[in-house]
Symmetry: C2
Subunit: 278 residues, 2 copies
């Protein structure tokens, strides 16, 4: 993978403030950044947009909207996220669609819990139909992210790329795209077929490795490319063949990575990124 | 779900010896048992067959063969498992096909590790072509079990029911069937379609719930029906509609269940089983 397309997803160095992350990208010659709303809010939206623009960085994504399966479909918060993505000139707004109603991320079933998985999936479609026009008016591309099935109950009832495409195809490709995240899709027997089907609709390509065994909190089971079991070459080749030539984000949720010196993390990230697709 | 079809998968009460498990089934009016090779070996194969027959129990499955992705394709051990299934008159031999080469169940990548997932899947097909005739000659039905994608690297590169059917369909349905295990397939957006497609080819239906959050070892994330997030009704109805009228095994890997008094486990199992499909 060519370093010119490398983007630092901000959660990889989550203890850095927005300013520190932007400075880090500039210092390490990383030309793009995937922003998180929490960090942007802390810095202030307008100031964040200026900071990133002045540094000459591309914004490969804004993370994240979604959580559409609860009461109210999360419409208010997602409209705000769309406005932020527009202000930041982000290439897309990533949507993590949410799990079963009444299950908080990482939590146990609570008030409002429902086992109705098809119902939760229908709510996502319903919310998307309401949000896509709002996003389109503001020039924001929504990016549906299928998550590994281990997160189906608590984070995303969208579990495969095929399922994401079934939803996205109701809308023009420039309005609703999909995220291909290696950690989430590597196991899928259909992944190469579905990446090909996604041609023109890939809004974001994210890379991180799948660690084996997973740590106690499966959310933190991502590693640097090469530390896990994923064969990146065929996936990256398929994404290339599907006409995605945008930035490639490295997004790593990992306690050791978060504890390390972020400058070392960026150096490792660059080295592993360059080696991953060989 | 009707109690007449309830089968105790032996791993649910794994600290019981074979004799204790058989006695437990009889005491609680459970008419079928899913045997594990470890327990059978401990008791002796011929004696185990006699014990179960004398008790009037049906053997709903023998667990398990598989682990076909390493060198030698596991052929020798699987032929032995087939012989055992024949001796026990088991309705099927469950195959957990194995993960990536060089990754032990629950372990980290070790000697012989390969990231070649399509290659590992091809080995499963190759092994199956060699084992199916051997099993057919002995009247043993092989049952391919897709496992939850969280186990793709270390236990089964067979991750969806659709993928299992793609493999099974090269053989007559009475030779190679599939296992539908609610824990493994509940999240799959295609699950109802694929269960319908599996008509005539379902060799085993296993039920347990998916706990949220998962415990530190995801292998132990199974719970009694009702303790997790699975809506059993639609799955059981689909399995019924697909003409599976055999035994329904309760197979639970769970530290608390294993620590409890097995007689209480059986009482709870019967109660929850009866309630699960309402």
């Amino acid at each position: 993978m060519t370093l010119a397309r490398l983007s630092l997803n901000q959660w990889t160095t989550r203890r850095w403030s927005l300013r520190e992350a932007v400075d880090g990208c500039v210092r390490h010659g990383v030309a793009a950044i995937g922003l998180w709303r929490e960090h942007v809010a802390e810095h202030g939206l307008a100031a964040a947009a200026k900071l990133v623009t002045d540094a000459g960085l591309r914004v490969s994504s804004l993370c994240r909207g979604g959580f559409l399966t609860g009461p109210g479909l999360g419409l208010k918060d997602n409209r705000a996220a769309i406005d932020e993505a527009a202000a930041l000139n982000a290439a897309c707004l990533v949507l993590v669609v949410g799990g079963l109603p009444g299950v908080a991320p990482g939590g146990a079933p609570g008030p409002g819990f429902s086992r109705d998985l098809p119902g939760a999936r229908a709510r996502v479609a319903e919310a998307l139909a309401l949000l896509a026009p709002y996003a389109a008016e503001r020039g924001v591309r929504l990016a549906l992210e299928p998550l590994h099935p281990v997160y189906c109950a608590d984070r995303a009832v969208l579990s495969t790329l095929g399922q994401a495409l079934d939803l996205a195809e109701h809308f023009p490709a420039e309005q609703v795209g999909v995220v291909v995240d290696t950690f989430h899709v590597w196991w899928d027997p259909e992944v190469l077929t579905q990446i090909a089907r996604a041609a023109g609709r890939i809004a974001s390509y994210q890379v991180s490795d799948f660690l084996v065994p997973l740590p106690a909190d499966p959310l933190l089971g991502r590693g640097m490319m090469g530390d896990g079991v994923i064969d990146f070459g065929p996936l990256t080749a398929a994404v290339d063949a599907a006409d995605y030539h945008g930035d490639i984000e490295v997004e790593i949720f990992n306690a050791d990575v978060w504890a390390a010196d972020p400058d070392e993390v960026l150096a490792t990230m660059k080295r592993r990124f360059a080696a991953a697709a060989r």
